[in-house]
């Protein structure tokens, strides 16, 4: 298993994100209903959407792990969930700020979109204790993959359930009967979404490269110091068997 740090991707991410945020403040008009506060939309929605898509990506990677038995998919699923949880924290905090400005409260418990996102987020927070409660590395990887698949299947179901719910305090701006977002806002949103998605991919690649370096360092230490170094700190993810590397 060898993951290399990306070279072009970080520059592309910075360029797209900068362009997106510049469009938000310099080109896109203020919302007729919410005014300037609606600018949070271009950050909050991409963060939340990317986190949810990231959870589903992790589920696909977990399926590939269980099908192939190749630990690299387990590492990828772990990292996808890890970065998505961080994005989830961002979505929750920016959402709370928007809620305070728009509704006068940091949190509204009878709003299905908010509560369902919190449930998904908390569900994925239990991934870490579940994973590290299991000593045996292979069993740990297998159970974590089963969890990632089950939780990943819950994400679209949750999304559908919210869509079908009656209470619609949360603004529906895509594909509504009112016509949805105006073209300028839609273009800005898509660029911001692309930027946040690129940021997710960049962070995933850096995290994978970091884990790969730690694992290689551990192997090197064991080779140089012999069995005495077996207890040295390394990646807490399941070690990669020699035949699965590459």
């Amino acid at each position: 298993m060898s993951f290399r740090a990306p070279r072009i991707l970080p520059a592309l991410t910075v360029a797209v994100l900068t362009a997106g945020f510049a469009l938000v403040f310099l080109w896109t008009p203020n919302d007729a209903d919410q005014g300037f506060i609606q600018k949070i939309f271009y950050l909050h929605v991409p963060l939340a959407s990317t986190a949810l898509i990231g959870f589903m990506v992790a589920a696909v990677q977990a399926i590939l792990h269980l099908r192939s038995g190749n630990p690299k998919w387990d590492v990828r699923a772990y990292v996808s969930i890890h970065i998505s949880v961080i994005f989830g924290v961002g979505a929750l905090i920016t959402g709370a700020i928007w809620a305070k400005a728009s509704w006068g409260a940091w949190w509204v418990w009878d709003e299905p979109t908010l509560v369902s996102f919190l449930i998904v987020f908390l569900l994925y927070c239990t991934y870490y204790p579940l994973r590290y409660a299991i000593e045996d590395r292979e069993r740990q990887a297998r159970y974590a993959s089963v969890f990632a698949i089950m939780a990943g299947a819950f994400v679209p179901l949750n999304f559908l359930a919210v869509r079908l719910a009656q209470t619609l305090i949360h603004p529906r701006v895509f594909a509504t009967s009112d016509g949805g977002l105006p073209p300028k806002m839609m273009l800005t949103f898509l660029i911001c979404f692309a930027g946040i998605a690129l940021l997710w991919e960049t962070l995933v690649r850096f995290e994978l490269a970091s884990k790969s370096s730690r694992a290689k360092l551990g192997r090197l230490r064991r080779a140089l110091e012999g069995d005495d170094a077996a207890g040295q700190p390394g990646s807490r993810i399941a070690p990669v068997p020699r035949e699965a590397r590459g």
């Binding site: 300037f36 506060i37 950050l43 961002g90 920016t94 962070l203 360092l217 140089l224």
Partner: protein, 72 residues
């Protein structure tokens, strides 16, 4: 609720974007700490490998000396 005036809304919008930036900076800081730890460990291992290589070079020389030394 009516739309907030710009001076009031600006604080919230700035707050949201600052939170995003702060999260990103925290992540970069954590990554830099990890990178420096990897760098430190790598330096230790390089030192160890050099010591091994140096002692490995000395060993054959001393063996030759033993062979050349007169027996008895």
């Amino acid at each position: 609720m009516p739309a907030l005036p710009l001076d009031e809304a600006g604080k919230y919008v700035a707050g949201a974007y600052v939170v995003f930036l702060a999260l990103l900076l925290i992540y970069v800081a954590i990554m830099s700490i990890r990178l420096s730890r990897i760098d430190r460990e790598l330096a230790e291992l390089a030192e160890l490998a050099e010591e091994r290589a140096a002692s490995g070079e000395r060993r054959p020389a001393s063996a030759e000396e033993r062979e050349e030394a007169p027996v008895g």
